[in-house]
Structures are given as C-alpha cells and as structure tokens.
Symmetry: C2
Subunit: 452 residues, 2 copies
C-alpha cells in the first residue's frame, strides 16, 4: 500500500521558483498608474515595493528564478511539506476516487503564507531597509511576515482588519511574540484610515482598507517598503514551491492528478498550487481540471467582472486587471477572513478568462460541514479558507461515487483552523450565517469599478 | 551539512512499544487499594480501566508489546514526527553544543498526548465499550482523546479543569468539533464535584479533582471506562514511540545525545522520550544524563516526598508510590496547565529515587523568556509546558558556551502553544506572575500525604 504521507528530502526543496507567466500565451495585464492609467514602471513601483520584488513582479519571461540560499535555509525549518493520501476521508465518503492533499499548515503561521513572507523579508533585508509594513485579514499573512522579519532582523508594522483584530486577539499575540507592531484597521495612524473612520465610524474594516493604510505608512517613511501576501505576480511566483513540491512528490509515487483544487481569495494559494501543472497544460504536455473555490460572500470569480480595478479601498495602489466585485465592496464579517478580498490575482484572472480553469462558490455553513467531516476523518482541523477546497474535493469525490470513476482528486490544504475556533463555535452552536450578497448589492459594488 | 529535519519512513514507525519496566532493577511500586492498602489486582482495576490496558499497567516483565495495526494506521496520520537540528537556536546562543529536539506538536491535539489516546481508544473499542470518560488540564489530553474517540466511534466525556475551561474556550471548541462532551470541573454532575464545590465554591479546579469526577462518571455507568493521559505505567508505555523514533533517527544520522531533557508534569512526555535511552543506561550499554524540567509552582520532583499518595483530590483512585507534594495541593492558576499535577509517574519517581536522572524547576517568566527565544530562532511557537524543557536545554547549551564543550543536547518539544496565547499575552504585557509555594505552604500540602 502506498504511504499516507510522502515527504521529499531537504535536497528536493525546489532551488528555483517557477514563473507561470513565461508559459502563458496571453500574459496578465500590467498594473496601471491610478493617475495616468499608463503601465506602472519599475521606477514608480520601487517607491512602494522592494526593488528585486519589483523585478519579479514585472518579469513575464524568465521561466525559473533562483531561490536565494538564505530563503532555502529558512524553508528547511518547515519544508518540504507533506503530500498526504486522505485514506480515511475516502473511506468515510465511500468513494472510489483517490484523494490527496498538500498540507501547508505545519508551521506557526498556520498556512502557506510563510513561503512568500520569507522571500519578501529576505529581499527587504538585502536592500538594507529598516522594516516593512503590511496588512493582514485573518492573521496568517501578518503572522508569517512577523516570523520572517524576526528571523531577518527587520521591523514589521501590521495593519490588521478590525473584525479579525477583535475576533482573533490570539493571532495578534503571536505577531507580538515575534516582535511585530499590530494596529487595528481602519486606524487613526494614517490619512486614509482617518477618512474612512469619519465616513463609516462603525466599519469592521476590509483587506482593501488595511492595504491602503499599510501602503501609506510605508511610502511616508524612510527605510520602509510595503509587502503584500497575495494577488501580486511575485507572490504567486514564491508560492510555486507548493506546486513544485507536489509535482515531484506525485512523480515519486507514480500518480497523476486529474482534478486540482484550491481555495482562492486573492489567489496566492491556488496560484502556487497549480503553477507547474498549469504550465504543463499551457504547453500542451498534460491535461488537468483546475477548480478555484471561493465563498459566496465574496464571489470575485463566479459573480465578478474582468476589469481594471483598485486593489485597495483608498485607491492609492495601482490598478490591476482582474476579476473583481469592486473595491467599494465591504464584505460581511465572514469568518473565512483570508478570502474576504474583492479582487483576484491578475494571473489567475487571465487564466480563468481564457477558459483554462473553473470556479465554484460555497456558503459558509456547507464549508464548515465539510471542515468537520475532514477533521473527524483525517485528524487535522482545517482553516475555514482551506475548507472551501475540501468542500469542492468532497463534491468531486461524491460525483465519482455516483459514476464509479476512480479519479485522482488533489487539493491544497493551505492552513489550519487553530485560530478560527470562534467560527467553529458558531457552527457548533448553529448560529453561523450564510451571508451572500443580492444581485442589487453586488451591482452596486461592481458600479465602483472605474472605467479605464 | 546534516539535515535540519530527519524524518523516518512510515515503515520505520515502531511496531512495538518498549516497556522500560522490564529493564528496571527496582520495579515501580504497585498501585494500592485506597481502602485495604493492598496491591490492586486486575479484577479490581478492570472496573475502572479497559482490560487490556490493565494488563499493560501491571506488566513489569514483557520488554516489547506489539502496537495494534489499527493504532499504527492512525499514527500514520501524523507520525513519524521529525527530529530537528536546532541550527538557528545554536547560532542565536553562540554555543558549540549541538541541539536537537523531537517535535511532537504537528497534530491537531497539539502535543504528544495523541500517541496514548489512540491506543486507549482502540482498546476501549475492542472491548465493546460505549464510551470513555477522562479529565483534561490544559486541554491537550482532552483534545487528543476526542480525536481518537471520533476516529474509533466512541463517546467521549471530558472533565476540564475549570481554570482551563475558562481561559481556553477554543480548546473546548476543538473537542466539541470532534464530538466530545466537555464539562468544567468541579461540576455538579458528580458527587465528588458537588462536595468540592460546597467546600470551596471559588475553586478554579485541579487535575486531581477532574480525575475524581471522570472516574466517578465512568464507574457509575454501564459501558464506560476511565482513561488517563499521564502518570500511569501504561501511558508511559505508549509514549515510548517518541523515544523509539528518536533513537532510530539518531542512529540514522550517526549522532549520540549526551543530555536528554523533557518537561514533566505527570511524566508521560519525559517517560516516553527517555524510555529506550534509559533502557540502555539501565542495561549498562550506554550512558546519558537525563533531566526532568518542572515548574516551581508545582515542584513534585524537586521539593516533594517519595511516598504513597492519592492521584486525585477525591481519593477514589488507587494510591501510587511517587514523588508528590500532596493530593491536597491546589496549584496556583499557572498557565503551564499540563504541569499542574501534584504527583509524578511511579516509573520516573523510582528512577529519580535510584539516582538515574536529575530534575530542575523553573519560574514561569524565565520559561516564557526561553519560549520566545526559541520561537524567534526556530519559528515554532512552543507550548508553555514544553518550554520548561527548552529552558533547561538553553541552560545546558550556555554552560557549553562557557566550557567550550561540544555536547549533544536533546530535548522533547512535546507541543505547540497555539492555545496558550493568553499566557503569552501576559508575558508580552509584563503581567505574568512567578508563583512559587513557600516552605510553609508546601509543608501543609505534603501533610495531606497519607501514612501507608
């Protein structure tokens, strides 16, 4: 019998990130200057982002980009992550399908976010910066960035979406333990925060707003740059380690997945997971079905438009061409915090637009039902975000049960739910809501997408 | 360079538990009937515990006991656990010592407790029971037992020490997610609980009291037995998988530890970690220094007496010969919850009494200081319990820095601190206390040890 867990050796940790853009026939559209609507140049971007990260963001051609040795050394603290055969889940579902997942939650940040945080902190340090600023929704990215900054000796200022700051005080303490300064967003520490608080004093915040605050805090101080944990091309580049390790592990055990599933908020997990597989598909070397699973409360892929939009509420960031439901959309306080973003990675948006992948949306309670099924079968308590992928995988496995097909279903378990117990409590108590915007609400939000 | 992490293959998961008692020249003293003060017989014990577990408890002779295939299958969900070279901690301390740790926290229970929980649930199921009752302090054991019962289809009633129940509502939700019934102890659901509440209405509870309640709940109902996560010989037997895997991993990399360190409350982690190494020492095949690290707030080894005592406050359990500070001792609400037990494993107590191992006690703030040093160096946020071992390992590593010795220091990282963020918050805020009982307080508690 095949093993439960396939671990690569440390030598098999990828030496290079894989840049999916090099294999895309239609490249993701460039970021635009919000004032001039012209493509952002390196000179414009380096005021906000670290220089080498800007190079990575703009590079649509280099297929493989070397992972610095210092970053690989940190990866060895928690990578390679296991590829797990979900025998117990298969048995519980009574499906002939083979289910696998790549488990990215076995590190203190609790998710895949650390993969990019380490790289971004490394480049910031290399550039001689004092520190970085960033935002965090559910808290995983902020925790990851705090850990990475602590390791490389950088200051780390985190703007945390207010609803998460209040619902997840423990996340805040993890960040403080790693030396970060954590501020609830919107806050009075920035101009954009002050404006928003004046207009909506009761707002629970959003990722879009926290991004605006973090960017303002970086560009108005010497020696600081802004770092972002999703959406950007450079982030998907770093997250390709997930897919690369998965591919090597599958080759080791002689298995080829038929369906590859990931949850998707800004797209960092899904983009990293599918990258090398999608590359094969784009090059005509293999075929896979790719499915992005998102919440009905924030349905960028399934109900959004493909257009240039702001990544942030304060409109200080460049415009990105992506699936979006409008930067004016302030999502309901949905506990799957990491998926509460109105837009989607330009890379994934282009691929979706080109028909290379599918998307599904799930309600919160059905996602938690899947989470509990998974937790009881496989032991691991999943993050609400990741549970969207679990739900989609279970759906596909149940289809196989009907048809008798022995498909290989592979999903990304991007994180653990140890800091989401308030949400589990609501689910256990039967008090969880299934908020989904109406067509009118959505149309109003989409109306905030600018004409470019 | 040697790898950061050494993983065994699934085939290298031990097939047998190692029973250290078989190699002990002086066996641990038998449990005594609290009424007659005669050694407990199998017939007496099977009313409380599962039958095969009683056999394991009483077996001082069989060196290796087979691990059932169903238990090994579950182990594959999270084992083998990694042996980690703490390169970053070594660098941070500037020590010539080589530091290794065995990381048992990479499962949803957050600690090594799952190793015994799975075995105990398996034997309960095999015996045809409806369910089990147990107690939990910090919550790790209750979580582990909930997970194991969910897997094997058993009911699980958990009495949770009140102070933890209130400080760790999230632990409770994890248990509920795995289908357990969780009750704050002392409670009105048992006679012993009612009595204690009458006498001390404001008590924050203790492990000793929760044990009494869980035992009463098991013996007064059909189809239930009591399960315990520490102290007992059978638990140390199951936890020997930690030491066995560690030993195999060290042999693989050709390294022999000089000093082996574990935190110790009831002794399950320390006893399992050191078992095969201590066996070598007892058989004269190798020499090691063994150090148990405990909190000054509950100093059984360092300030207790070696005597027969009750394991529980209600005095319904058998008497065990052990290092104890008295079953009447109700520890201060110390956040290192898992170490808040007045007694110590009879096996470890005998070995300590025989001069085969050492013990040290640390104050809470110095333990958290060590925890933060470790977290920032190695990434992993450690449990407060485990951080006692980290503190001892750091102390030994700093001694090596002074002497220039390149000793190999090995400690057990028994769990993660994701559910201990209130304690970290206190430490970060500077409001943590260093409660240590005075000589008078301790003498008063020790006076509750019965004359046998």
């Amino acid at each position: 019998m095949e093993n439960y867990r396939t671990y690569l050796t440390e030598e098999e940790i990828p030496t290079h990130y894989y840049n999916l853009r090099a294999d895309m026939p239609t490249k993701p559209a460039p970021l635009l200057n919000p004032g001039t609507h012209q493509p952002m140049t390196k000179d414009e971007l380096v005021g906000v982002f670290c220089e080498e990260l800007v190079d990575q963001e703009l590079d649509n051609d280099t297929r493989f980009i070397e992972i610095p040795e210092e970053v690989r050394d940190y990866y060895k603290n928690y990578r390679p992550s296991p590829l797990v055969r979900a025998y117990n889940l298969e048995k519980k579902l009574g499906t002939p399908a083979k289910i696998y997942f790549k488990f990215e939650g076995n590190n203190t940040s609790g998710s895949h976010k650390l993969n990019s945080a380490v790289a971004q902190a490394y480049y910031a340090k290399k550039q001689g910066l004092k520190g970085v600023t960033t935002e965090t929704g559910a808290g995983q990215w902020g925790t990851a960035m705090s850990m990475a900054c602590s390791y490389f000796g950088l200051e780390c200022d985190v703007y945390m979406v207010k609803v998460s700051y209040e619902q997840k005080p423990f996340r805040r303490e993890v960040m403080r333990t790693y030396g970060a300064n954590v501020t609830a967003s919107p806050s009075n520490t920035t101009e954009v925060g002050k404006r928003l608080l004046e207009e909506f004093p009761d707002t629970t915040g959003s990722l879009g707003c926290a991004i605006s605050e973090a960017v303002e805090s970086a560009v108005t101080r010497d020696g600081y740059r802004y770092v972002l944990g999703s959406v950007l091309n450079l982030v998907l580049l770093h997250q390709s380690v997930i897919g690369l390790e998965s591919k090597t592990a599958f080759e080791k055990i002689g298995v080829k997945p038929d369906i590859i599933i990931g949850c998707t908020g800004g797209g960092s997990n899904l983009g990293g997971l599918i990258a090398p597989f999608m590359g094969e598909k784009l090059r005509g070397e293999a075929d896979y079905r790719f499915i992005g699973a998102e919440p009905t409360s924030c349905p960028s892929f399934t109900r959004g438009v493909f257009a240039y939009d702001f990544a942030d509420t304060g409109h200080v960031c460049p415009l990105a061409k992506m699936y979006t439901i409008g930067s004016g959309y302030i999502p309901a306080p949905n506990h799957a915090g990491g998926l509460r973003f109105h837009g989607m990675s330009p890379i994934l948006s282009q691929l979706y637009h080109d028909g290379m992948m599918e998307a599904v949306a799930y309600k919160q309670t059905e996602v938690f039902e899947a989470a509990e099924t998974f937790a009881n079968a496989e032991g691991i308590l999943p993050a609400p975000e990741s549970s969207h992928a679990i739900k989609a995988a279970i759906e596909e496995a149940l289809k196989c049960k009907e048809t008798g097909e022995e498909k290989v279903i592979f999903f990304g378990l991007s994180g653990t739910g140890y800091f989401d117990l308030k949400a589990y409590e609501q689910y256990n108590d039967g008090t969880m809501n299934d908020y989904t915007p109406t067509d009118e609400e959505l149309a109003e939000a989409i109306a905030t997408v600018p004409e470019v």
